[in-house]
Amino acid sequence: MIILLTFLCLALLVIVVIQIGRVSEMAGLIRGEEDVQNDSNYWNSRLGMVFMVLFVLGCIVSAIYYKNYMLGYGPHEAASVHGVAMDQLFNMTLFFTGIVFVVTQIVLFWFAYKYRGVEGKRALHISHDNRLEIVWTAIPAVVMAILVVFGLNTWNEIMQDVGPDEEYVEFEMTGYQFGWIARYPGEDGVLGTRDFRQTSGVNPLGQVWEDPANHDDLHTNEIVLPVNKKAKVRLTARDVLHSFFLPHFRVKLDCVPGTPTFFVFTPSKTTEEYREELSKYPEYQVREDPNDPSSPRLWESFNYELACAELCGTGHGSMRMVVRVVEEHEYKAWLSNQSSYYLNSIRGTDNDPLKGKEIELDSNEEVGGQDDEIGSEEAESNEPGEDVDAEEEEEIPSDLED
């Protein structure tokens, strides 16, 4: 039935189109070719002008209408330090290209209109003008040079690794079909070694349990970062390519199986601060479920999100993880609440190659459990120093570093 209907519709379309064609052909025969051509010049050149005006206006008006979703405007300001520089570069490019866009579109349709064929009017014979051509080669060259210089400056800043004395938070993200595993280094500040051959249901990252650095590593179900502190994310993938994309932080880098990569960025707004900014915009004051007055407003339920930006299979669009940016002390508190994956899920089971053997962390285990109550102050005083020292000794060579 559906197929029949489709064919009927198609047949109808064919007949209508052919009839229109024949009628116009006939009308042309009656009026004479030249007349028809002049008429066409008259109408189509005007249509071009109408199109140009509507198009340019449409672009400008729609850009203003959607500016709240554009980089660096409205509620979607960058939530990271480098993101601000990136947005500036975007705006600078928008400025130059915007001018060229409007001017050339206007000139194109204006010339087409002004120099439309009219009876008795002849075209000029102008084949070239060297001076003019040099000018319009030089101008784009200069503009491009400016954009290249600013662009590469920004790029190099963004791609800087952390300095030797800098404090930073390190974590690791592993993409798989279809989700993410976040790993934090734990108290020793060192991410333990991995061997993909040891990956299994109980050891999703293939951590080598003989390596003591693995014993305090945390697996978390969200990414939590302290505000205004550099974060270095190490990226890998377990099966196919994935891409670590944090739209609000202007962060994107592929996760490549077998080739570790990293990205350094500094979150500059806590989730709470970002929500506050959003609350000023009417489109975020609506309820999440418009029919339910008790549901939270959109800005209240806002969260930074991690998405996958490299096609990885049928579940590509569902690789979400929440990112929370908090004050430093809240971060410490959260961290101390997490417990080591090894101690929680592996220690003492049949999957533990060190079963029955003494390990360093055994004595600390209790302390870790009590941390929640002790609160954040203590954790704060303890950790940063150790964190950094340990990091330097273990620099995993990466494609990004040479």
Partner: protein, 619 residues
């Protein structure tokens, strides 16, 4: 009017008779024997004009298929909540019904459609359909040759293309589905059948199909280059060539240099898939199993792919640029502005296209220092592109512009090329690309600049040279309806995608429900889908017009209906084998003597007048 045109016709024949040279082509009848029966004339033809028509009609077939596939996935994106059960008679098991009888397009099928749409449009329509058609049609006709240097290779070129199409078409009906890893086919997704159901038999057929396709491109390309360099008629120096020929020459060279690299990449991928090598695979745990592969890098594939992939976009756009230059000049009745600058910019774009491939890979994990050189060359490419745009605008200046469908499409091309080219400046700057990479901004950019713009160039060419191909005109009124709906509709589809991309919405998502950040745009997605349907229907108008006009279009009554200078319009209305019935014309001037002195145009076959010679000498 009719009187003067008859006079022109006579003059053309007289000029060829007087100045042409006799290559005794028609003394030997072996040249004509190819065309003795239906099969040798219409199927295994070795006549370049027939092969051009074969490429064009096959291209149209694939464009319809590719367009339909895009409508299917646009339906999913625009109306994810709607009941798609009505598609079940067409798509069968790929429409999944839930318990309530609500049908939805399965994700496997969605990704297969996305992948096939890209593959078909990029390779089968805009490479084979565009440069295959116009290189075959125009090269011999515009350079004054009897046919291609090797008509036999030319025939093979088409049939390898046909075979490639056959294989890909068949793969659409596999029970495991067509390949669904994106048209770029990045491993490991494309290398491991465990990773996606389309990466099994679907991917094998995809690889086979594209390898056959590359054979077709190489056979065609070597022929085009040889023909242009060796078979130009007397007097036709390189600096007298129409810009179409320059563009097609550089296109063919790009293809010859870059497609073999793609095949080498495919070969390694084939080894990884079938022989157990590890060129692209390392440290993979999939399907509950750690694979043996170690030491390879998926990034290597990306280098090999984009070493073709970037020249490929110029393989697509250069012929369109050449066609537009020619069509704009003829219908503005003006010489193309800055001919030499146009040639040099084609050469510069061709050269630079080999130095920018890694701008597709800024965030793929390559060394950030390497990215810098690619930013530099990518933004440099904007300069010759800008020169071309300014020269097209200057060509319109002071013209006497004829608004027919061909020229409207040429003007539309310039508009599209500006819009799409400028967004390339954002993406070429690696720092901005971090955010915009693989978002809808990229989709908008490349669809406008190489999808729609190349289509516009193709339409300009088809409307313009249709009479040369079929001896009849396409209907102008329908052509204009087609143009205006397509121009407006294409912008309505792709302009909003910039906003989606700037908002961070990633491409190749089956649905946006999982993310709060990406879920605000259902209205816009619906709008885009409705526009896409509108534009598709407008293309049906073109298709009907095209096929109807082959048999019933307005007849071409004069040899040179547009008053064009180039050689193809000196052949008889029904151009037979060998193109010119008697002598081959010789050339005495460049291809753009329009509105010179008191003449509307001076054909290339006309010798310089005494006055012109004096002017030349004084320069």
């Amino acid at each position: 009017m009719a009187q003067t045109q008859v006079a022109v016709k006579d003059a053309t024949d007289q000029l060829i008779e007087k100045y042409g040279f006799d290559d005794h082509f028609h003394d030997h009848h072996d040249g004509d024997k190819y065309q003795t029966n239906f099969i040798t004339h219409y199927i295994f033809s070795m006549d370049h004009k027939m092969i051009a028509k074969q490429f064009l009609t096959t291209g149209i077939f694939w464009a319809i298929i590719g367009g339909l596939l895009s409508l299917i996935f646009r339906l999913q994106l625009g109306f994810p909540e709607e009941n798609m059960a009505w598609l079940k008679p067409f798509l069968g098991k790929w429409v999944v019904l839930n318990d309530a009888g609500i049908g939805s397009i399965s994700p496997e099928f969605y990704y297969a459609m996305v992948t096939m749409h890209g593959t078909i449009l990029v390779f089968f329509v805009l490479t084979a359909g565009l440069s295959g058609t116009f290189a075959n049609l125009l090269i011999p006709l515009q350079i004054g040759a009897r046919d291609m240097a090797s008509p036999f290779l030319n025939m093979l070129s088409y049939w390898f293309f046909f075979l490639a199409g056959l294989v890909l078409f068949f793969s659409l009906f596999l029970s495991t589905g067509a390949f669904s890893g994106g048209w770029v086919a990045y491993p490991p997704l494309s290398a491991l059948p465990q990773a996606s159901s389309g990466s099994g038999a679907g991917m094998t057929m995809w690889l086979l199909s594209l390898t056959l396709f590359v054979v077709s491109v190489l056979l065609g390309g070597i022929n085009y280059v040889t023909t242009i360099l060796n078979l130009r008629t007397r007097g036709l120096s390189m600096w007298r060539l129409p810009l179409t020929i320059w563009a097609l020459l550089v296109t063919a060279i790009l293809g010859l240099l870059s497609f073999p690299v793609l095949v080498s990449g495919f070969l390694l991928l084939f080894f990884d898939r079938s022989v157990g090598t590890s060129f692209y695979l390392s440290e993979i745990f999939i399907g509950g199993q750690a694979l043996d592969h170690v030491g390879g890098s998926p990034i290597l594939y990306q280098h090999l792919f984009w070493f073709l992939g970037h020249p490929e976009v110029y393989i697509i756009i250069l012929p369109a640029m050449g066609i537009v230059s020619e069509v704009l000049a003829i219908h503005s009745r003006k010489p193309i502005f800055g001919y030499k600058a146009m040639v040099f910019s084609i050469l510069a774009i061709g050269f630079l296209s080999f130095l920018v491939w890694a701008h597709h890979m800024f965030v793929s994990g390559i060394n950030p220092y390497m990215a810098m050189i690619f930013v530099l060359f990518t933004l440099i490419i904007a300069v010759p592109s800008a020169v071309k745009v300014f020269n097209w605008l200057a060509t319109l200046y002071g013209g006497s512009i004829r608004f027919n469908s061909a020229n409207l499409y040429a003007i539309g091309f310039v508009s599209m090329f500006i819009s799409g080219g400028l967004t390339g400046i954002f993406l070429g700057n690696s720092a901005i690309d971090i955010q915009l990479h693989d978002t809808y901004f990229v989709v908008a950019h490349f669809h406008i600049v190489m999808g729609v713009a190349a289509f516009f160039g193709m339409f300009a060419g088809v409307y313009h040279w249709y009479p040369k191909m079929y001896g009849r005109f396409m209907n102008e009124f329908l052509g204009k309806i087609h143009f205006w709906v397509t121009l407006v509709g294409a912008y309505l589809i792709f302009w909003p995608m910039h906003y989606l991309g700037i908002a961070g919405v990633p491409r190749r998502y089956y649905s946006f429900d999982s993310f709060e950040t990406f879920s605000h745009f259902s209205g816009m997605n619906q709008f885009i889908t409705v526009s896409a349907i509108l534009v598709f229907v407008a293309q049906l108008v073109f298709v009907i017009n095209f096929f109807y006009s082959i048999w019933y279009g307005k007849k071409m009554k004069v040899k040179n209906p547009y008053g064009a200078t180039s050689l193809e319009w000196t052949t008889p209305i029904k151009t037979g084998h060998g193109n010119w019935p008697g002598k081959i014309p010789t050339v005495h001037r460049w291809a753009y003597d329009y509105s010179k002195g008191d003449r509307d145009f001076i054909p290339q076959i006309e010798p310089l007048s005494e006055e012109e010679k004096e002017n030349m000498a004084s320069h």
